[in-house]
């Protein structure tokens, strides 16, 4: 921890970066911290409780400004940063990425290639919670699954915390904010809730890196992260992805090839 704090203080003092996004102790658990001077670096922490995906902030222009900034990134944040890079949302010149590796050593990534090599060491696995719920869902018939998700979605009140917490939901105008025409009814109701969540899921296909931020943010406890996680898992063998790593040839639903072997696309 001391190494991280000292390095962050030095980076800010030297003017190498103008901002470091990290974690501090919160009232319930660690929370995001924005260090703009070396004094505040003393509040920085970085441990296994720090799982909030800080990549959600790196595309917010009003927050990060025009100068170079840094982010302390656990593995989930690193995965999102790589995906954002592939989607041309980040540049190496502007972002310095710090992490603390499994040996407790401070690591600095100047290039996305370095992050990619580091992330490749970590296999994407289901946690206990994911395994428990997903294996239950996988054992259901199609009708049972629909019933399960309609039941879960009925609790949604459209606070859009799932969208706000997702690093890959960086659109300045979301589909639910388009009102000419109004694609999705803004009020909560069983079918319009499902419309929203299907839309969200389809926009995430082949992009989601299963950080779980959406499910974690949901105030009414809908395990929505499992929809996009499951799609990531299912897509990987079909499209040659490695789960949790960005698709180098483009995202499944937003890229196409002239020589695609499927007929329907031509």
């Amino acid at each position: 921890m001391k190494k991280l704090r000292d390095r962050v203080a030095a980076l800010l003092d030297e003017g190498a970066v103008s901002l470091v996004i990290g974690y501090e102790e919160g009232t319930k658990r660690p929370r995001p911290l924005f260090c703009r001077n070396s004094e505040s670096s003393g509040k920085l922490i970085f441990d296994s409780r720090c799982f909030h995906n800080l990549a959600v902030y790196v595309t917010k222009k009003e927050l990060v400004g025009k100068e170079r900034f840094a982010v302390t990134a656990p593995i989930s944040t690193l995965r999102s940063i790589l995906q954002l890079y592939v989607e041309n949302q980040l540049s190496e010149e502007k972002l310095l990425v710090l992490t603390v590796d499994l040996n407790g050593e401070l690591r600095e990534f100047v290039t996305f290639e370095e992050i990619s090599a580091y992330v490749a060491q970590f296999e994407m696995k289901r946690g206990e919670r994911e395994q428990e719920i997903l294996s239950k869902i996988e054992g259901m018939t199609r009708e049972e699954r629909w019933k399960f998700w309609m039941g879960e979605m009925s609790h949604c009140f459209k606070c859009y915390a799932c969208r706000s917490a997702c690093p890959l939901c960086y659109c300045t105008k979301c589909v639910v904010e388009v009102n000419r025409p109004q694609w999705i009814n803004p009020w909560p109701s069983p079918i319009s809730n499902m419309e929203w969540h299907v839309n969200r899921a389809m926009h995430m296909v082949g992009r989601c890196t299963a950080c779980g931020a959406c499910g974690d943010a949901c105030p009414v406890g809908i395990p929505i992260d499992l929809i996009t996680r499951k799609m990531m898992e299912d897509l990987a063998p079909e499209f040659g992805y490695i789960p949790g790593q960005p698709a180098k040839q483009g995202n499944a639903l937003s890229s196409w090839k002239l020589d695609d072997r499927e007929q329907f696309i031509r």
Binding site: T27, R31, S164, N185, P188, S189, P219, V220, G221
Partner: protein, 336 residues
């Protein structure tokens, strides 16, 4: 006001007679790992051992989506069918916490500040509130800092304070409360001299409202809004779980020549909330929206409606994905 004693068995019988009277009863139910208000038929469905429901009881008097009126075009004529207050059933809210019951006053102050809101008022008229005083609190609770208390009876028709024998002190506070007692009068026994305060959680006040209000009067251009809101991700979780947040949107649901006009929840934390047709947004940044949230509750409402827009229930702090803790933020403003 009258105080009575009701035994545990008496409470169960009374609950059954409320159900038997045909009224809808909403009570906290534990399901999917969360406790929230749901329609119940049996006392056994009602949750025990929790601090707070995830969502407030607000939806019972201000539904998430409600039809204001329906219309149909018919050969150049428009047939309008207005909201009918008679369609609202008699409703009993069981086991409401005092911070939720106290939320009815600020909510009604907003809905009736210029003209009387027919829908909200129709719900209120048909709603009776049986609150349970609080024997427990957590670190997000701060009702005592915002004119409330674990035994506050404001907004309740009857308040029960549960005793160690499972029975309760019953404070019958309003004619609506008396009407509920009249469903089964014999279970309400003479009071036994139990001291209510003895069974309430001790929750020291954390800040003074006057101090906060005075600071906020000069804080519009303060840097505090930007500092506090940097980590806010701009979702509506805080507003939607809040017992007093009343921002709404008006929407049309049109199908051919028929349609409905719907009022649904909205949140001042959303960027879209203040976006003008021209493209201009007077609250362009999250810091401005956070300022609005705090000033509205702790400055504008006390000044204009003579009621504070926060009941200290702590739900926003519990629901926030990034730990925007309102108690922490307000306390820091009070100390500035």
């Amino acid at each position: 006001m009258e105080t009575k004693y009701i035994s545990q068995g008496g409470m169960a019988q009374w609950f059954e007679s409320i159900i038997a009277s045909g009224k809808r009863v909403y009570a906290p139910v534990n399901s999917r790992g969360q406790v929230d208000f749901k329609l119940v038929k049996n006392l056994s469905e009602v949750a025990d051992d929790y601090i707070q429901t995830t969502q407030s009881i607000k939806a019972s008097v201000y539904p998430k989506a409600e039809v204001l009126f329906t219309y149909e075009k018919d050969h150049g004529k428009v047939n309008l069918s207005d909201f009918d207050p008679e369609t609202i059933p008699e409703t009993v809210l069981w086991k409401v916490h005092p911070c939720d019951a106290a939320g009815f006053k600020p909510l009604s102050a907003i809905f009736n500040w210029d003209s009387a809101d027919k829908l909200h008022n129709a719900h209120l008229v048909k709603t009776s509130v049986i609150s349970f005083s609080c024997a427990k609190a957590d670190q997000s609770c701060f009702c005592t800092s915002v004119n409330g208390s674990p035994g506050n009876t404001a907004g309740s028709d009857i308040q029960l304070t549960v005793l160690p024998d499972g029975g309760a002190i019953a404070e019958i506070l309003t004619p609506k409360g008396e009407a509920l007692v009249a469903l089964l009068p014999p279970v309400f026994e003479a009071e036994r001299g139990d001291k209510k305060e003895q069974y309430l959680v001790d929750l020291p006040a954390r800040f003074s409202l006057e101090e906060v209000n005075a600071k906020l009067n000069k804080a519009f251009n303060s840097t505090v809004w930007k500092e506090q809101s940097e980590r806010c991700i701009g979702c509506g979780a805080c507003a939607f779980v809040c017992p007093t947040c009343a921002c709404f949107d008006i929407q049309e649901d049109v199908h051919g020549s028929k349609g409905r006009r719907i009022r649904c929840w909205d949140a001042c934390g959303f960027a879209l909330f203040t976006l003008h047709t021209s493209g201009h947004n007077p609250r362009e940044h999250q810091s401005q929206r956070w300022r609005q949230r705090i000033l509205h509750k702790f400055s504008y409402m006390p000044d204009r409606l003579s009621v504070v827009g926060c009941t200290g229930c702590g739900r926003c702090s519990r629901a926030c994905p990034v730990d925007m803790n309102i108690l922490e933020h307000i306390t820091s403003i009070a100390k500035q």
